[in-house]
């Protein structure tokens, strides 16, 4: 075989391997942890000197305190698949219909599969604790 043909086959094989590898295999993502809460990060020299990996530590989690009451567990389990419940506690007091619209958006637009019988429980919980008349400090 000619040298150029060998090179050609080698390049083809390389391309196939690259295409076959998982697109996201190249990086770590979504690493969150509560263990470094309140700590000032101290610089630590990276261990590898010859590698090309650039890394940071886990992103700290600051779980908020949700108001106690019926529906809180459903909110915690269904509303924290994609995001922290700080998305709830961060909001200003919102009208009851806005909370209903937000939950509907999460189901219909964002695709979160909240069972039909749980949706009203979650809406009721948010309206009871995070609406205009009801929000407590």
């Amino acid at each position: 075989m000619k040298r150029s043909t060998i090179w050609f086959i080698a390049i083809l094989a390389g391309l196939a391997a690259a295409a076959g590898s998982l697109v996201y295999a190249q990086f770590d993502a979504g690493y969150y942890s509560q263990k470094n809460l309140g700590a000032i990060m101290q610089p630590a020299a990276p261990k590898d000197t010859d590698g090309a990996t650039y890394a940071v530590t886990a992103y700290p989690l600051y779980p908020p305190e949700l108001a106690p009451g019926p529906g809180r567990e459903d909110v915690q389990s269904y509303c924290s698949t994609c995001h922290s419940t700080r998305y709830i506690t961060m909001q200003p007091p919102l009208p009851p219909e806005t909370w209903a619209a937000e939950v509907n958006k999460m189901v219909k637009v964002m695709g979160q599969p909240i069972p039909d019988d749980v949706q009203p429980v979650i809406i009721k919980y948010l309206q009871t604790h995070y609406a205009l008349e009801t929000r407590k400090p």
Partner: protein, 443 residues
């Protein structure tokens, strides 16, 4: 909360005992009188509420706790997953925002903790003649680097000022920053890949992923620009921010820079540039980040409810300016000159006129009733898309309450208005901002 109150009560008792001691040894007047002077807790030590509303957030920043994240100095927390952090006010005294203080806003929770540049590639794909993949080494060595100073501002910056309030990230004014971005012109990469003739849009995707189902906005974050949009000629694929690698939370290894445009288009950890032959129908273009097709993107809740608001994708940033110091937390002294400082910027070109207005006893909520504007001094011009600092020397004439206001005019003649805007997304806020200050007696 009770514990905090108890603490401040103890602090007062402590101050009182010191005051009493001073009074005894130095023979001052009544202990009560001295105590009254010392016991006033400065405004900046007030315990913040856990939320604001239904009125405006009255503060400059949002009210979350100050938190520590990798590669970051302490920032104000909005949400922890995905990460949203706001830059504290004092960092805006300078035209360039330090990388470690630059605000953070991700849309999806699976964001990179590490990237291996041995395997990471920036792909150009879709409707192109040549599918290309660039390593970081390719980007830094095969192209001549270009730099631009440009403001990156979240579309929802200052959302907490909306009336009535709207749901979403409740940002104060700190979801913005200015940096010198260095990298490769986007156009050179597109030319290298040879865009096909029937191509219409170019779509950008980063390394972030969400846990929502495929085909939904909760699964991937995608943004597009029209290939006919002249802003593409100014876009940069940046590998350096203020002459350093980008912090992981600000989009390492490379980020798209779209000068003058809101940050929603500035894709972080940019890894796919996809040329499309039809308009982008994904959630983040078709539903999210849209503004009413009206002057200033203004509308009303009634019009939204009636369903007669036509929307367009958000684009350029309207002219804005901010008073950074004095911040109102400290009493000023009558007749003692001070420098009022701030920044200004516009997505439509350089800010070339800055004015301040200093008035006694007007309400910040209702705005100025009389407007006497005095020109302020402009700082260095770092280019049309950068923050520009401004300053104005003021000698507080006499004790009292004053309302400071700042107003910017950009190269296109756009001037900030004293009216707010309202739209359901909470975008495009650019009203004149106020700072109330208290001036005390000099003796």
């Amino acid at each position: 909360m009770n514990e905090r109150r108890e603490l401040s009560r103890r602090k007062l008792l402590h101050i009182a005992s010191i005051a009493a001691g001073v009074a005894e040894t130095r023979g001052f007047g009544s202990v009560e009188k001295l105590f009254a002077q010392q016991s006033e807790v400065p405004a900046n030590e007030k315990i913040l509420p856990t939320f604001t509303g239904p009125s405006q957030n009255p503060y400059w920043n949002s009210i979350g706790p100050v938190v520590q994240y990798p590669q970051k100095s302490p920032l104000v927390l909005l949400t922890d997953r995905p990460v949203q952090l706001e830059t504290p006010r004092h960092y805006f005294e300078n035209a360039f925002t330090p990388n470690e203080a630059f605000y953070v806003r991700w849309h999806l929770d699976e964001i990179p903790n590490s990237v291996d540049l041995a395997t990471w590639r920036l792909s150009i794909e879709g409707n192109v003649e040549r599918l290309l993949k660039f390593s970081m080494g390719d980007l830094t060595s095969k192209f001549k680097p270009v730099s631009v100073a440009a403001v990156n501002q979240c579309s929802g910056n200052s959302r907490g000022k909306f009336q009535p309030r709207v749901p979403g990230g409740q940002w104060g004014h700190g979801a913005m920053g200015n940096a010198k971005w260095t990298g490769v012109p986007l156009r050179e990469l597109l030319v290298a890949a040879k865009i096909k003739e029937d191509a219409l849009f170019v779509q950008f995707q980063g390394l972030d992923k969400g846990k929502g189902p495929e085909g939904h906005g909760s699964h991937e974050f995608l943004k597009s620009l029209d290939l006919k949009n002249p802003v593409l000629d100014e876009c940069i694929v940046a590998y350096a921010m203020n002459d350093e690698p980008l912090p992981m939370l600000n989009g390492f290894p490379v980020r798209l820079i779209v000068p003058g445009y809101f940050a929603t288009y500035w894709m972080k950890s940019l890894s796919w540039i996809r040329v499309l032959e039809k308009p982008d129908e994904n959630f983040w273009m078709k539903t999210g980040y849209r503004v009413p097709d009206t002057p200033r993107g203004n509308t009303t809740p009634e019009d939204v409810k009636a369903g007669n608001v036509k929307t367009v994708p958000i684009s350029r940033m309207p002219v804005r300016s901010f008073i950074i110091t004095p911040d109102g937390a400290t009493k000023l002294v009558a007749q003692l000159p001070l420098t009022v400082r701030g920044i200004a910027f516009s997505g439509y070109g350089s800010v070339n006129k800055m004015e301040v207005s200093i008035n006694e006893s007007f309400s910040a909520v209702s705005g100025l009733t009389t407007k006497t504007w005095t020109p302020a001094d402009l700082g260095d011009d770092h280019g049309p898309y950068s923050f520009r600092t401004w300053s104005h020397t003021w000698i507080p004439p006499k004790p009292g309450r004053y309302l400071l206001a700042a107003r910017a005019t950009d190269a296109k003649g756009n001037v900030q208005s004293d009216e707010g805007v309202w739209n359901p997304g909470g975008y495009l806020w650019n009203r004149i901002e106020y700072q109330e200050v208290v001036v005390g007696r000099a003796s």
